[in-house]
């Protein structure tokens, strides 16, 4: 039952990504051209609501549906890791017009060449694992 719930949340996310245009290559291009408010609006709305929800959960020390406390794990401090990794991500995000979530929403919508980007993403992830110890973190 619980497993179906994850599937359901994924469906909601996939519909939201696709219908809002967040999985459109055009919207990503437009965002990096500063030609439209659309993507900034999506992220701004998502972030504003998510900040509110996160702060309320923390203040009220809310529990999840199973009764366990909701914990937020702080990310380890580093600059090169996030900056260099982030730049690589941005290069790919703008070129393919899709980040990992939208890639799979596009696959479902039947834009099959996105499979190439998904294969690339798996290869890139694997390559990171291979060279991790030589990279500045």
């Amino acid at each position: 039952m619980k497993k179906i719930a994850y599937l359901f949340v994924g469906i909601l996310f996939g519909i939201g990504m696709f219908k809002s245009g967040a999985s459109s290559w055009f919207r990503i291009y437009e965002m990096f051209q500063f030609d439209s408010f659309h993507m900034y609006g999506i992220m701004g709305t998502a972030l504003t609501l998510a900040v509110l929800a996160t702060q309320i959960i923390k203040r009220k020390k809310s529990n999840d549906f199973s009764g366990n406390p909701i914990v937020f794990t702080p990310k380890e401090k580093s600059v090169p890791r996030y900056l260099i990794g982030g730049i690589f991500f941005g290069l790919g995000w703008a070129l393919g017009g899709a980040c990992p979530g939208p890639m799979f929403a596009l696959l479902g919508a039947g834009f099959y060449p996105i499979i190439l980007a998904i294969i690339g993403a798996l290869l890139g992830t694997w390559f990171y694992g291979l060279v991790k110890k030589w990279l500045p973190h």
């Binding site: 992220m43 696959l107 919508a109 991790k132």
Partner: protein, 186 residues
């Protein structure tokens, strides 16, 4: 109800993303899509090549189900909740800029048919572009410890400085690609 078939306004998209984050938090999980890529590498046996992929990936089954849901969501959105090939309305100047780069499908399609049409598989250039784009996304998100969902939404909503640095990186990379590299590629 006809609005449902039109492209949705930005605030609806934002509400869907925030709802996803909140639901996952209350289900005892954290919203981060790119960890699925690592899980999939492990499932396919990448653990034989390096330790990074040696972890109990079965504990990530929930996230893989979330991924399957995302695929289904894209399918439902395109086939049952869209009309006119889900064309994205773009501003005149964007259409102009894209047409100068050779993208004639701007304003008429959801994604450029030049990159995502059936003929993409018969163009070596397109195949390479999509593979490289994916490679950078996969490598970059693992190196940076997260993608747009993990950093720009989850991390920033908890005021995490590392996530802000990562998002700044996303934008530096994206701006370099669109403004400096696109004119060389297209």
């Amino acid at each position: 109800m006809h609005w449902i078939y039109e492209p949705w306004p930005w605030y609806v998209g934002g509400i869907f993303i925030a709802t996803t984050l909140v639901l996952l938090l209350f289900m005892g999980k954290t919203f981060g899509f790119s960890s699925n890529l690592r899980t999939m590498c492990s499932m396919m046996g990448a653990g034989k090549t390096c330790d990074f992929f040696c972890f109990n990936w079965k504990a990530q089954t929930w996230n893989l189900l979330f991924l399957v849901g995302t695929i289904l969501g894209g399918w439902i959105a395109y086939y049952f909740l869209s009309v006119d090939a889900a064309a994205i309305p773009l501003g005149e100047n964007t259409i102009q800029k894209l047409s100068e780069l050779g993208f004639e499908s701007a304003g008429k399609a959801y994604v450029p048919t030049e990159l995502f049409g059936e003929e993409a598989f018969s163009s070596i250039k397109t195949i390479l572009l999509l593979l490289v784009a994916g490679f950078f996304v996969g490598f970059g998100s693992r190196y940076a410890g997260g993608c747009t969902s993990g950093h720009a939404i989850t991390g920033l909503s908890n005021f995490q400085l590392p996530s802000l640095i990562a998002v700044v990186g996303f934008f530096i990379g994206g701006l370099i690609m669109v403004h400096l590299i696109f004119p060389l590629l297209f």
